[in-house]
């Protein structure tokens, strides 16, 4: 992989130093006004360059969160998704060539999820900031590897779901967050929230079809197991096959698990138990339906991912999704009043420019995905599973634990240095 790209940091650092020098008594060079953002111009240090890896349906939709940006590269293994001829300058089919671009600041990743981790790691190793569509990963070990790679290479990361930002500005959610984070409740098992997901399923008997001439199917599969091509496997409906994603539970579930994970102050841990309710057995290839999965955290907080209307209703004890000072005793209320509010979440636009990690960062996104993957693992094995959030392993269930770190098809693999 390319060495960490320091050119962008040096360029940005030069412009910042130039801006500061211009106010000093002994300034030896003239700083153009647009570098300082005067006269309504956007300073070049505020306009980042971006590349899109995965130019299909979702495309660059989420890149607005980076603020002013200039697209300089597009990459897809299906050339029908590219607006120009492959020239390895603007249009690419291999994401590794994109990462070699020295003038590139941010990579937006809109590939199917089975590619997310490897492309994120490649971007981090190349020193590129990362915007990654949800769900961040296909299996739990990938998330740990991405979080570690992002931390090691000090790049910025934002996941493509944003409701946690509005939760973090809501006084009710802030109070909820503080109460749970600091363990002020006598019994946190009263805390229960429901996260919604849709419930679409894959097709169970996919006959082999000719591969379209524009698609490099082998590269599209990448780390996923080889299975004969069928159009149902690719380009949106990949969501409904275990080899590429986790169905609507991870596809839509991310939008509600992510903000609730913030509200429940669980960004740095994972559930210790997943209890499923789903039709069984699941098909080995196609994602099936599910009713709900109850995820329980160590302090007793429960999060239930719901499969949607018409399925079986959750059978656990009732609870409440928001707690406030009225749920505390006098000592708890006093303690709550003394606690500061959490720091505001940093937007991706600000993260890229200030180098403070964004609100939807790699660690929190890994934990969101870990919760959803645990839910799917429980559904697939058809039984309750126990999880160690520190070791990030399923306890006492070898088969289930094999779904935590799924071997990739060669030559692709998670770099050992980022695991654990």
């Amino acid at each position: 992989m390319a060495e960490q790209n320091t050119n962008t940091v040096n360029r940005r650092g030069f412009l910042k130093a130039s801006a500061m020098a211009s106010t000093a008594a002994a300034a030896f060079h003239v700083v153009p006004s647009n570098c300082l953002g005067r006269d309504g111009q956007v300073p070049p240090s505020n306009t980042v360059t971006t590349a899109l890896v995965g130019c299909g349906r979702r495309g660059a939709a989420g890149l607005g969160c980076v603020g002013s940006h200039k697209m300089i590269a597009y990459c897809d293994v299906d050339t029908s998704h590219l607006k120009g001829e492959v020239d390895n300058k603007t249009y690419f089919t291999d994401f590794r060539r994109v990462m070699e671009k020295k003038d590139l600041d941010v990579v937006a990743i809109s590939t199917p999820p089975h590619w997310h981790a490897l492309v994120c790691i490649a971007a981090a190793e190349a020193g590129k900031d990362i915007f990654c569509e949800k769900p961040m990963t296909k299996f739990i070990a990938e998330g740990r590897a991405v979080a570690n790679a992002v931390a090691k290479h000090k790049v910025m990361f934002q996941i493509g779901t944003f409701k946690r930002f509005s939760n973090s500005r809501s006084q009710g959610h802030i109070e909820n967050h503080k109460i749970i984070k600091h363990g002020l409740l006598k019994d946190a098992s009263d805390v229960l929230c429901f996260c919604g997901a849709r419930n679409r399923t894959g097709q169970t008997a996919l006959e082999e079809q000719p591969v379209p001439s524009t698609l490099d199917y082998d590269f599209w599969l990448g780390p996923a197991p080889y299975k004969p091509y069928n159009s149902a496997r690719v380009h949106y409906s990949n969501r409904f096959y275990w080899d590429y994603e986790g169905g609507d539970l991870t596809n839509f579930g991310a939008h509600s698990v992510d903000p609730w994970q913030w509200s429940f102050a669980k960004d740095e841990t994972s559930p210790v138990k997943a209890r499923p309710c789903a039709p069984w057995p699941q098909h080995p290839d196609a994602v099936g339906a599910f009713s709900w999965v109850e995820l329980t955290y160590e302090d007793g907080v429960r999060m239930v991912i719901n499969g949607g209307k018409g399925k079986k209703k959750y059978d656990g004890p009732k609870g409440k999704s928001n707690v406030n000072k009225n749920d505390l005793d006098e000592a708890g209320r006093k303690k709550l009043a003394e606690l500061p509010d959490p720091d505001p979440l940093v937007s991706f636009a600000d993260a890229v420019r200030t180098r403070k990690q964004a609100g939807g960062n790699a660690e929190s996104s890994h934990r969101v995905c870990a919760a959803m993957h645990l839910a799917n693992i429980a559904i697939r094995v058809g039984r309750e599973i126990q999880y160690d959030p520190e070791k990030e392993q399923i306890i006492g269930d070898e088969e289930a634990n094999r779904l935590v770190n799924i071997p990739m098809r060669r030559p692709w693999k998670l770099p050992e240095q980022y695991l654990g």
């Binding site: 008997a205 996919l206 197991p225 098909h283 094995v381 039984r383 088969e399 071997p407 990739m408």
Partner: protein
């Protein structure tokens, strides 16, 4: 041993809305022994997308999970050994690949010798590498060292 019709009747309701009836069906299949499991595996079809193989594939995959439940080691051994036994012989590469993917979940060191043989088949090599990697341990590492 169960007849083909008895097997078909047991698995026609897969997936079931509840775990209990599905797991009861799995219990009956396992209790019927290796010959029943072999018959079920062959019902899964010779081609990846066989429509006739859908229910048997649900069932074989269900058994791979069912026998891995805590406390069922003897059942797992019987099932995994029966699966591995189908890697020899005339079964199609598609069916063998399906079997190897089940062993990736339920196989242990005892199945490594059978998987080491499928490493030599070009069409099955990558699938086998993934299964052996998941199984892990000295025997699997040794089998993979030559790849």
């Amino acid at each position: 041993m169960l007849s083909l019709q008895e097997i078909t009747d047991l698995i026609k309701g897969f997936p079931a809305d509840d775990y209990e009836p599905a797991q009861q069906a799995c219990g009956k299949l396992v209790a019927a022994g290796p010959k029943t499991i072999e018959a079920l595996i062959l019902m899964a079809g010779s081609k990846f997308g066989d429509k006739e193989g859908v229910q048997p594939k649900y069932a074989v995959h269900a058994l791979a999970s069912y026998v891995c439940r805590p406390g069922a080691e003897k059942e797992r051994q019987m099932f995994a050994e029966t699966l591995a036994g189908q890697l020899d012989g005339d079964n199609s590469d598609d069916l063998k690949a399906f079997i190897i993917r089940q062993l990736q979940l339920c196989g242990r060191e005892q199945e490594v010798p059978a998987l080491a043989k499928t490493l030599k088949a070009e069409a099955l090599k990558e699938t086998t590498v993934q299964a052996l990697t998941a199984i892990g341990g000295n025997a699997a590492d040794k089998a993979l060292s030559g790849v």
